[in-house]
Subunit: 478 residues, 2 copies
């Protein structure tokens, strides 16, 4: 290490070494009971003592977000041991960071006293975020230790849905009047012990708290101290209402490169602000939800959830899939007579269905992605449909011919080869059409276009593929 | 509108109305040639004249990011018309915002003079980002108009891969020495016309430009003007190296709620900084790439790409799918004899394959998602496997029994019913096992676990499902 500038503590290098932590936990797991009951005298081996010391030290150095990731990646027993040993002062932060299902497991295993201590340091908006998951008695006691203003803020934040800006706003505001000089603002700021996180602008309000504009810190720093705030402030402000959709707000943050933005009510009164860190979480979750939804998972799942919980999270789409598979099976059933005569049909039909499903999934994924980034308007749907059908036609003719020739060599029947070409082309066209229509119609109906889209498109291309292939074969080969 | 505070221009309300713009474009498309050649006298109807005026006005008000989204959502001809009419001063910004394939279409249709004008206002790091897509002559001329320092910065930025921090860093730095007072810093800042975007901290360096720490603006504002920078600055700094992976950097931004961070070289010399807006783009792209990769799309596609380009983007995974479908077909071929005897097998086999595919996709999606957020370490893989197999066993027994009973009623054969239960359970177990193993092994091999995972798992559950079901039927029913 040639680093002579030891003044900089390389925080980046304290990264999460889950594997090492797991080893330590494995050593301690046999004595977990004793650790839980603070009866550490029973740690018999030196190995256990060392492991405990090291684990506590490692956990102490971790950022709450890292502790959260660690907890999510551990099975239940191990998770509880680590949770017990993690720095209690940061418990509230960690609870905010973990996913909902994991948070439940943690809260279930905490005593009321521990929970109260954990939420004690949280801001009003953070407490509001946790409150629905906390035992009622804990919420009650936590509220009673806050002042009137904070209680009102918590109540306000809790009155909004999870997907509304109001639920994510915080109340740490610095606001000033427009008729003072920058010098006065600087002096005013100096009276704070610390400014709220992410403060990149100060909100300019009138005596009724009505938003007049914002004073970016960047402008404040380069302005003449004698100039008035009203001359320096920006009045083209991106503002949000508490009932705005968080995903749209996140898109606006991304688009306009915002760090913070004011939240105002119908009378333009300043009531809170939202910050980029919350928006980054929204963006991350939005894409993840799309991915989970496409695969037919209802919601984020605790990796180590009990089997029963996982079954519950997944059964709906499995049931839907089973119904669609049953329909596909009945479609084949219609042609049992044909299959009896030419058993090769049973062998080839999954190829037709399979390529349709794959191609349809490509189309639908592309469309869903484009919709998420707001790129698809209704007038485009027809154009897109034509284009996707063009792609399907080309792919169908190319790959259909390949498989047609292969089938001909396998079964020495020109008829089977030609039916294969036709069926594959038609099923790819069907896949393209439905791959565009499903998300477009879902969106028109106000539903999430990603929801189970993969299961739906596969259903159509399976039943459709079997019907087209077996139907053509019955018409031309029997 | 009760809004009496007209001083605030509600920027949020100028949102993108693609449908309306498309209407305007449709009116103008017949005279697009004349508009391109600036021969606007030929606009015959008043409708056309009005549409042109309105379109120009609307485009002028749009943020470059909105123009980019608009361009991405338009077919080629319409896109070129809008591009021609968009505010040329912001052309460079728009080029930075659009996706790679769309950027190519735009650059292809610009004259050298227009391109030079577009990149003229860009910062060094932005020009470096565009350079690989620009004609060589344009890059050469653009470089020759920059000074020595900027040329060096551009060369540095271009020497890194797209997925390295060095490619995303910018060079707009404000740095100070540790031995001055906050008052001096404030006076120094006041000499800037404007501070770099997102400036939330000032970098503290020694005379060799070696990073000593950072002075958060928030601390600067609340400190006593007389105190020394060295007393106020933070020395536990999250730093990056230019060769760091951008996805890891983005995760660090998310975890530590950063807005900007310094990039340093091996000697801890400050060479640039990265900002949250770039990291948000990385996070968005990362999730999108996972989604596209899972579905077997090679890369982001221009929605209205020519059919040929789309075919190229999708053919590999279609070809892979065709091979796997062919293998599945050959597996069935092994049992043609059995199917000839009991044609019901052909009808029921897709159900076994289908539910395996669906369930396997649920598992693999969950694992890939957890890997992306760094939640899976090697020591967890075995535990996860056991859990997923537990879920599969429960689902297999439940849904297998349901379909077993249905099959019994359809074909009046207890044997078929029992084979169905067994085959579905076994195929779900296979799906769970492979759904965990594919991404774990991909990651161990240093590959992206999302890559074509959906195609792979479906391949296994199809061939496996057919083999298990037809094999069991041949053993026990014939």
């Amino acid at each position: 290490m040639k680093d002579t500038h030891s003044s900089i503590n390389e925080q980046e290098q304290i990264h999460l070494d889950t594997d090492h932590i797991c080893e330590l936990v494995a050593v301690l797991l046999p004595v977990a009971e004793d650790i839980h009951s603070h009866n550490q005298t029973s740690l018999q081996t030196t190995e256990q003592k060392q492991a405990l010391q090291e684990l506590i030290a490692v956990l102490h150095d971790l950022h709450p977000a890292d502790v959260a990731t660690l907890l999510e990646s551990l099975p239940l027993e191990e998770r509880m041991l680590v949770w017990k040993l993690a720095a209690p002062a940061e418990d509230g932060e960690v609870l905010l960071e973990v996913s909902d299902p994991v948070r439940e497991t943690l809260i279930e295993n905490m005593e009321q006293r521990e929970l109260l201590a954990a939420v004690d340091d949280l801001d009003a908006d953070e407490l509001a975020e946790l409150a629905p998951d906390l035992p009622r008695q804990v919420v009650y006691e936590a509220l009673s230790s806050r002042d009137e203003e904070e209680r009102a803020q918590i109540a306000a934040a809790m009155s909004f849905e999870d997907d509304q800006v109001g639920a994510l706003m915080d109340f740490e505001l610095v606001s000033i009047r427009a008729d003072v000089t920058c010098e006065v603002v600087l002096r005013y700021l100096r009276r704070f012990d610390r400014l709220p996180d992410h403060t990149d602008k100060i909100f300019v309000v009138d005596e009724e708290d009505v938003l007049q504009g914002v004073l970016p810190i960047r402008s404040l720093l380069v302005s003449d101290p004698e100039s008035l705030v009203s001359d320096v402030m920006a009045d083209d402000v991106v503002t949000f209402r508490p009932e705005d959709d968080v995903e749209e707000a996140a898109a606006a943050f991304e688009r306009y490169d915002l760090v913070t933005a004011p939240v105002i009510d119908d009378n333009r009164k300043l009531i809170g602000r939202i910050t980029i860190d919350e928006m980054v979480d929204v963006i991350r979750e939005e894409s993840e939800t799309d991915m989970l939804n496409m695969a037919g998972l209802r919601e984020e799942e605790d990796l180590f959830a009990p089997v029963v919980d996982s079954v519950k999270n997944r059964w709906i789409w499995l049931a839907v899939n089973l119904c669609t598979a049953f329909i596909a099976s009945r479609v084949i059933g219609m042609f049992e007579h044909s299959i009896e005569k030419i058993v090769a049909l049973a062998t080839l039909m999954p190829i037709v269905a399979g390529i349709g499903g794959n191609s349809g999934n490509q189309t639908i994924t592309m469309i869903v992605r484009a919709m998420t980034s707001g790129q698809i308007s209704n007038s485009q749907a027809k154009r897109l449909l034509r284009k996707e059908e063009g792609v399907a036609l080309v792919n169908g003719l190319i790959w259909g011919s390949v498989m047609g020739i292969v089938s001909y060599f396998l079964y020495h029947s020109i008829g089977i080869g030609l039916v294969m070409v036709a069926a594959m082309t038609l099923n790819l066209l069907l896949a393209a059409t439905v791959g565009v229509l499903i998300p477009v119609l879902m969106q028109k109906a106000g539903r999430d276009p990603a929801l189970g889209s993969s299961v739906l498109i596969t259903a159509v291309t399976d039943s459709g593929g079997f019907f087209i292939f077996l139907g053509l074969a019955t018409l031309f080969l029997l």
